[in-house]
Amino acid sequence: MSGGKAPELTPPARRVTGLLVAWGAGDESAFEQLVPLVHAELRRLAHRAMSRERSGHTLQTTALVNEAYLRLIDADGVRWQDRAHFFAMSARLMRRILVDHARARKSQKRGGAMRKVSLEEALILSPERGSDLVALDDALKALAAVDSRKSQVVEMRYFAGLSVEESAEVLKVSPDTIIRDWKLAKAWLLRELSEGA
C-alpha cells in the first residue's frame, strides 16, 4: 500500500545487491533468498499499478518497473568489477526469476486446473502467457548455441528492460550492432517458436 509507511515494505536494496554479488560468485543459495525479495517488490508494484488504475489514471507500468528495478538494486552501493558486470548479472537474475515463475504458474494452471476446467473453457480461454515465457527461454538457449551474443542481447533488452545504449555498454559493442542483433534475434526466435513447436 502506498502512503507514509512504504519504506518498511521495500526490500533493502543493499541486501539484494549483496545477494546478487554472492550469486554472481556462484552461491546458489543466494538465489533462493533473492527470489522472495524480488517477488515482493514486483507484487507491490503490481498492486500500486492497480490502485492507480482504479483511481482513473492510466497504467504506466514501464515507469513503475524501472523504478522497481532501481529500488531493488543498489547499483552504486557495491563496488562492482564494472557496471557492465552488474547489468549482466541483473539481467540473468530477472530472466531466471521470471521464467521460474512462469513455469510455476503454468504448472499451477495445468496441474491444478486442467482436470477441473471444462474442455470448452480450455478451448476458448487463452493459453497462459507463462508457457510462452518457458518456450522462449528454451528458444533462447537454442539461440545461444548459434550466436551467444544475440541471446545476451535478448536477455538484456527483454528480461532486464535495458535500453539499446545500456546493452551496448554491457556487451561492449556499438549501439548499431545491438539494434541489428536485436532484429535478427527476434526474427530467429519467432521462427523457432512458430516452427519448432
Binding site: M1, R54, T62, R105, S107, D132, G161, K186, A187
Partner: protein, 937 residues
C-alpha cells in the same frame, strides 16, 4: 551452423532489409525484387538463400515481438493474481475467495458467509490496531452507525469485526461498475445523469435524516449495477482513514503534495468548508453531489487543477466553467439545481437534502417533457454548440431515447414477433461466421464440416446447392458492396481468444486472394466498398484503423477487438471489446467520438450487426461461460438495451440484410465422455450430463468418475446409470478399493464415501493441488506448488501422517505435472517443462527423465511398469503412444477418435488403466446450424 556461415546469413539478412528500406520505405516488401536481390547476394548457394529467406519471412512479424519488457508482463500477471495472504483464509464466519480490489486503506475481497451461504464483500483494514485502541473503537462505532442505514441505494453493512491485527467490514457484494469507470471522458446522457443523481440524493436524504454524513462522496465511492441501480459505498467509514492515509484524504489545512495528481480524484469532490478544514455537515454531501452531477452532465471535472493545493483553492474561491457553455444542451432547471448545490456557503444550498432529492426525482420523472421545450429554447437562444459538435446529435438521440422508452413502456401495442426460421445447409460441424452478399440473397459462410478445417462456402436460401469457394482455409470477415470478400487465413494460435491471421481480399468467385495485412483480428468494408477498417495487433495492443494506417481507437495492452461493423451510413464503427467489462462500443469515424452501447458481458465469440436503419446494433451475448439461452439483444447509441428474441440454445447473429433478414447460427456445445473396458469389451458413451469431463478411471477399468462442473458422478463403464456423489468436488480420485473419493472441496481435501457414510476431512492435504492414490489405498501422493517448484509428499489416510519425498533439485523445477502412479506404487510419472517425461521413485532416489516430443503427458502405466502410455496433447485424433522405459523409444499405441468426427474440437484428457485394456477420454463437440430468419424486429 558454422560461425562464418552464420555471419554470412546475418550479413545478407541485414543487406536485404536495409536495401528494401531505402528502395521503397519497406511497408510491403516486393517479393519479386526480394527474390532477385537474394539470388544475386547468395550467388547460387541454395542452402544459404533458403536460410536467409526463411528468416526474412519473420522480419515483419517480429517487429512487435518482445518489444514489451518481460517485467511489464510480470507486473500485469501479478496484478491479476489474488492478493497473497488472505485468499482461502477464513475470518470468523467468512471464507475469503478472491481479491476484488485494493485501495488506500486496505483490500476488498469477495468472500462467502459460511453460516448464511451468501457471497459478501469484505473490506479489510490492516494494522488498524496499531493506530491505538481508540482508533479501532471509532472504526467500529462508525461502521455500526452506518449499518443501521437501510436503503436500496446504500450498500448494506452486514457486520464488523477484528481478528489479530486486522479489522474488517462485511458488506453487500455489488456487481457493477464504479461511477468513475462510467465517467471516462464523455458526458453521460441526460437521462442517465438525472436518474443516478436522483438515486444518490435519495440515499443521502435518508442518511442525513439520521444525522449521518458521508464526508467523502466521489465517483470512486459510487457503484452502478448493470440494472442501473446506484449504490453508495463507505458510508461513515471514509472519515476514518483520513489520519491513517494522508494520500487519500488530506488533513485540512495541511500542505498536500501529489506526485501524479492521483489525489485530485479525491480532493476534487470536497466541499469548500471541508477544504477549509471545517467540519462536514449534510450540505457538504450536497456540494459533492453537485460536483459529481456537474461532471456527469458536462464530462468535465468541476475543479480540476494540476495540484491538490490548487484544487482546494479553486473549491474555496472559484466557480467552475458555466454549464451553459460546457454543456449547452442542459435544461435550465437542472442547471439551477447544480448551481445551488455548488454554492460556496452551505447556508445557500438546500436546507434539507430531502428537498434536493425531490427536485431531482421530479425532473427525472418529467424527462420527456424536458427534452422538448426546455432544450430547444435553450439551444435556439444560446451560442452555437462548440464542444466537438456533440450538442446537436445529443438532442436527437435524447429524443430517440425518450421514444425508445415510450415504446418499451407500452408492450401492449407491440405484436409478439412471429419469426420464420429456415435452415441453410445440413452438414454437421461448426459454422464460424457468415455474411449476406450485396444481393441480399447469397450467403457466404465459413464452416468446418465433418472434422475438416474451416472453408468458405456460398449458397442461397431455398437452394440445395452449396458451392465451396476456391480459397485457402480461413474465416470470413466481410463482403463489400462490390462483392469483394475479406477473410483471415493462416490463423495464428496464440494468446488471443479470437485468433489473429493474415487479412486477405478476394473476389466472390474465389481464385487467388491478395494478402493485405498481418496480425488482423477483425475487419469490415466501408459501405461504398472501397476501403477496409481493421482491428490489428500492434505492440501488444489492438488498434482500430480506418482507413488502414489511421488509428481511431486503441485498446489497453492485452486488449482485443472482435467483429467490427460499419453502420449503414458509414458514420460509425461498432465493435466488441471483450477485455475489461465486455463492452459493445461504437466509434464515430469523423472525430473518434466513442459511445458505450452495452457492457458487462462475458467473453465469448460475439458477432454483431447494425439494424438496417442504423439505429441499433444487434448482438448475441452471453452472460456467463455457458449461458444456455442467451438472448438476441439490441442496443442504441445511447445505450438503450432491449431483448429482440430468445432462441433454443446458443444463438450467434452473423449478419442483417438491408431488408431486415437475419443470418443466425445456433450452437450446441456438448462435453462428452467415452470409455472402453475389458469387461464390457466395447467403447461406450459414458456421459453423465451434457457437460461431462473425465475425472478418473479406476485401476480395474470398471468405473469412471465424471465431473460436470457442478456435481461429481460415478459411473460403471458397462453403461449402468451414473451415481451422483456430491457437489463442489474437484480433482477427484477414486480409492483403489472403490469405496472413497478423495477430492478438493471448499472445506479442504475430503474423503467422500461412495456408499453410506460421512464425509471425512483430510486436513494434512489441504494445500495439495493434485493427488494420486498409491495402489494399497492407505496412502496418497500429494503434489504441492512451492518455490521454486513442486513439493511431493506421501500422506497416510488413517493418521494424516506426512512424509516428504526427496526430489532432486533438477526435478523440483522441471517436473511439472504429476500423472499416474505405477502398479507397484513405486513410481510417479509426470511431464516436464522441457517436453519430456519424468519418472520419480517415491521412495527417493534418482529420477529418470525421458526426452519425448513436446506436449506429451503420461496417462497410464503397463502392469509390469515397463511401459508408459503417453498422450500427445492437442492431437486430433488423440495420439496415444507407448513409451518403453527401458529403451526410451515410443511408438503409437492407439489413435483415439469418434466414429462421427463432426464438430469434434478436442479430445482430452485421456486415461489408460488396467494394463492398457481399459481407457476413457473426454471430448468437446460443437455443432452448429445456420438459419435465415425473417420477421424479427
Amino acid at each position: 551452423m558454422a560461425p562464418d556461415r552464420w555471419a554470412e546469413v546475418e550479413r545478407i539478412y541485414h543487406e536485404v532489409l536495409e536495401h528494401e528500406a531505402l528502395e521503397q520505405g519497406a511497408l510491403e516488401p516486393d517479393p519479386g525484387k526480394r527474390a532477385a536481390f537474394l539470388d544475386e547476394a547468395c550467388g547460387g548457394d541454395e542452402a544459404l538463400r533458403r536460410e536467409v529467406q526463411s528468416l526474412l519471412g519473420y522480419a515483419q512479424a517480429s517487429d512487435t515481438f518482445l518489444e514489451r519488457p518481460a517485467l511489464e508482463d510480470e507486473a500485469e500477471e501479478l496484478r491479476q493474481e489474488p492478493g497473497p495472504p488472505l485468499v482461502q483464509r477464513q475470518i470468523d464466519e467468512y471464507r475469503i475467495l478472491s481479491l476484488l480490489g485494493e485501495g488506500g486503506m486496505g483490500q476488498v475481497y469477495r468472500a462467502k458467509d459460511l453460516t448464511l451461504g451468501r457471497e459478501v464483500a469484505i473490506k479489510v483494514l490492516h494494522g488498524l490496531a496499531a493506530g491505538g485502541p481508540g482508533n479501532l473503537r471509532r472504526f467500529e462505532e462508525e461502521a455500526r452507525l452506518a449499518s443501521v442505514l437501510n436503503h436500496p441505494n446504500i450498500v448494506t453493512i452486514y457486520g464488523v469485526g477484528e481478528k489479530s491485527d486486522l479489522a474488517y467490514i462485511a458488506m453487500e457484494l455489488v456487481h457493477g461498475r464504479t461511477l468513475r469507470e462510467m465517467l471516462s471522458g464523455d458526458p453521460l446522457s441526460l437521462k442517465v445523469s438525472l436518474d443516478l443523481a436522483a438515486q444518490l440524493a435519495g440515499a443521502l436524504s435518508v442518511a442525513h435524516a439520521r444525522g449521518i454524513v458521508h464526508r467523502d462522496l466521489k465517483p470512486e465511492n459510487i457503484m452502478v449495477t448493470r440494472e442501473g441501480r446506484l449504490k453508495v459505498l463507505d458510508f461513515g467509514i471514509a472519515k476514518l482513514h483520513g489520519p491513517r492515509d494522508p494520500a487519500t484524504e488530506p488533513r485540512p489545512g495541511s500542505v498536500v503534495h501529489t506526485e501524479d495528481g492521483s489525489i485530485l480524484g479525491t480532493v476534487g469532490y470536497m466541499s469548500p468548508e471541508q477544504a477549509a478544514g471545517k467540519r462536514a455537515v449534510p450540505a457538504s454531501d450536497q456540494f459533492s453531489l453537485g460536483t459529481i452531477l456537474y461532471e456527469m452532465v458536462t464530462g468535465r471535472r468541476a475543479w480540476k487543477r494540476s495540484t491538490a493545493a490548487e484544487t482546494l483553492t479553486a473549491i474555496i474561491r472559484e466557480d467552475p466553467a458555466p454549464i451553459a457553455s460546457a454543456a449547452p444542451g442542459t435544461p435550465k432547471s437542472l442547471r439551477w439545481i447544480i448551481e445551488r448545490c455548488l454554492a460556496k456557503d452551505p447556508e445557500d444550498r438546500y436546507g434539507s437534502t430531502r428537498d434536493l432529492a425531490r427536485d431531482l426525482a421530479t425532473l427525472r420523472d418529467h424527462f420527456a417533457e424536458l427534452s422538448g421545450a426546455d432544450l430547444t429554447a435553450e439551444s435556439a437562444g444560446g451560442p452555437p454548440p462548440k464542444r466537438r459538435g456533440w450538442a446537436a446529435p445529443f438532442i436527437a438521440v435524447a429524443s430517440a431515447a425518450v421514444l425508445g422508452a415510450v415504446i418499451l413502456l407500452s408492450p401492449l401495442f407491440r405484436k409478439p414477433p412471429l419469426a420464420d426460421w429456415v435452415q441453410i445447409g445440413f452438414r454437421r460441424g461448426v459454422v464460424w461466421s457468415g455474411r449476406f452478399a450485396p444481393d441480399g440473397q447469397t450467403i457466404v459462410y465459413s464452416a468446418a464440416w465433418d472434422g475438416e478445417p474451416p472453408r468458405l462456402f456460398s449458397t442461397r436460401p431455398g437452394s440445395t446447392e452449396t458451392r465451396t469457394l476456391d480459397l485457402p482455409p480461413g474465416r470470413l470477415l466481410a463482403i463489400s458492396s462490390r462483392s469483394e470478400l475479406a477473410f483471415l487465413r493462416n490463423l495464428r494460435l496464440g494468446s488471443k481468444l479470437v485468433h489473429p491471421g493474415t487479412l486477405v481480399r478476394a473476389g466472390l468467385e474465389g481464385g487467388v486472394g491478395r494478402d493485405v495485412l498481418e496480425n488482423v483480428l477483425a475487419a469490415d468494408w466501408s459501405p461504398d466498398g472501397t476501403q477496409l477498417a481493421v482491428a490489428r495487433e500492434v505492440a501488444g495492443k489492438v488498434r482500430l484503423e480506418y482507413p488502414i494506417g489511421k488509428t481511431l481507437y486503441e485498446t489497453e495492452t492485452g486488449g482485443e477487438i472482435w467483429n467490427l461493423r460499419f453502420s449503414p451510413d458509414g458514420a460509425w464503427i461498432a465493435f466488441y471489446e471483450p477485455t475489461g467489462s465486455g463492452t459493445v462500443l461504437a466509434v464515430r469515424v469523423a472525430d473518434g467520438l466513442r459511445r458505450v452501447l452495452s457492457d458487462g458481458w462475458f467473453m465469448s465469440a460475439f458477432p454483431l450487426a447494425w439494424s438496417p436503419d442504423g439505429r441499433e446494433v444487434w448482438f448475441t451475448p452471453q452472460k456467463q461461460i455457458r449461458d444456455r439461452s442467451p438472448a438476441l439483444m439490441a442496443a442504441t447509441l445511447t445505450g438503450q438495451l432491449r431483448e429482440v428474441t430468445r432462441g433454443p440454445g446458443q444463438l450467434r447473429l452473423f449478419d442483417i440484410a438491408p431488408n431486415g433478414r437475419l443470418l443466425i447460427a445456433r450452437w450446441d456445445v456438448h462435453l462428452g465422455l467415452r470409455g472402453f473396458s475389458s469387461f464390457s469389451g466395447r467403447e461406450r458413451e459414458l456421459s453423465a450430463t451434457d457437460d461431462s469431463v473425465l475425472a478418473d478411471l479406476t485401476g480395474d477399468g470398471r468405473n469412471v468418475l465424471i465431473f460436470d462442473r457442478q456435481a461429481l458422478f460415478l459411473r460403471p463403464t458397462d453403461g449402468s446409470p451414473p451415481l451422483r456423489l456430491g457437489e463442489g468436488l474437484q480433482d477427484a480420485r477414486l480409492s483403489p478399493d472403490g469405496k472413497w473419493v478423495l477430492a478438493g472441496s471448499k472445506e479442504g481435501r475430503v474423503l467422500v464415501p461412495v456408499g453410506a457414510g460421512d464425509v471425512r476431512r483430510v486436513a494434512a492435504a489441504d494445500e495439495c493441488h493434485q493427488t494420486e492414490w498409491l495402489p494399497d489405498g492407505t496412502q496418497f501422493v500429494c503434489e504441492r506448488l512451492s518455490h521454486p517448484g513442486i513439493r511431493l509428499s506421501l500422506i497416510e489416510v488413517a493418521s494424516g501422517k506426512q512424509t516428504d519425498v526427496a526430489v532432486p533439485a533438477a526435478a523440483v523445477t522441471d517436473f511439472e505435472d504429476g500423472g499416474p502412479v505405477s502398479a507397484d506404487g513405486a513410481f510417479l510419472a509426470g511431464s516436464g517443462s522441457r517436453g519430456d517425461v519424468w519418472v520419480l521413485p517415491l521412495a527417493g532416489g534418482e529420477p529418470r527423465r525421458l526426452p519425448t516430443e513436446k506436449g506429451m503427458i503420461p496417462v497410464g502405466w503397463s502392469a509390469t511398469g515397463r511401459y508408459l502410455y503417453v498422450e500427445r496433447v492437442g492431437s486430433m485424433p488423440a495420439n496415444i503412444q507407448k513409451l518403453d522405459l527401458r529403451t526410451g523409444r515410443a511408438e503409437t499405441w492407439r489413435d483415439l477418435s469418434l466414429e462421427d468426427p463432426a464438430g469434434i474440437a478436442r479430445i482430452h484428457p485421456v486415461m489408460v488403466k488396467d494394463d492398457g485394456r481399459s481407457w476413457a477420454f473426454s471430448y468437446l463437440r460443437i455443432l452448429s446450424n445456420l438459419y435465415v430468419v425473417d420477421g424479427l424486429k
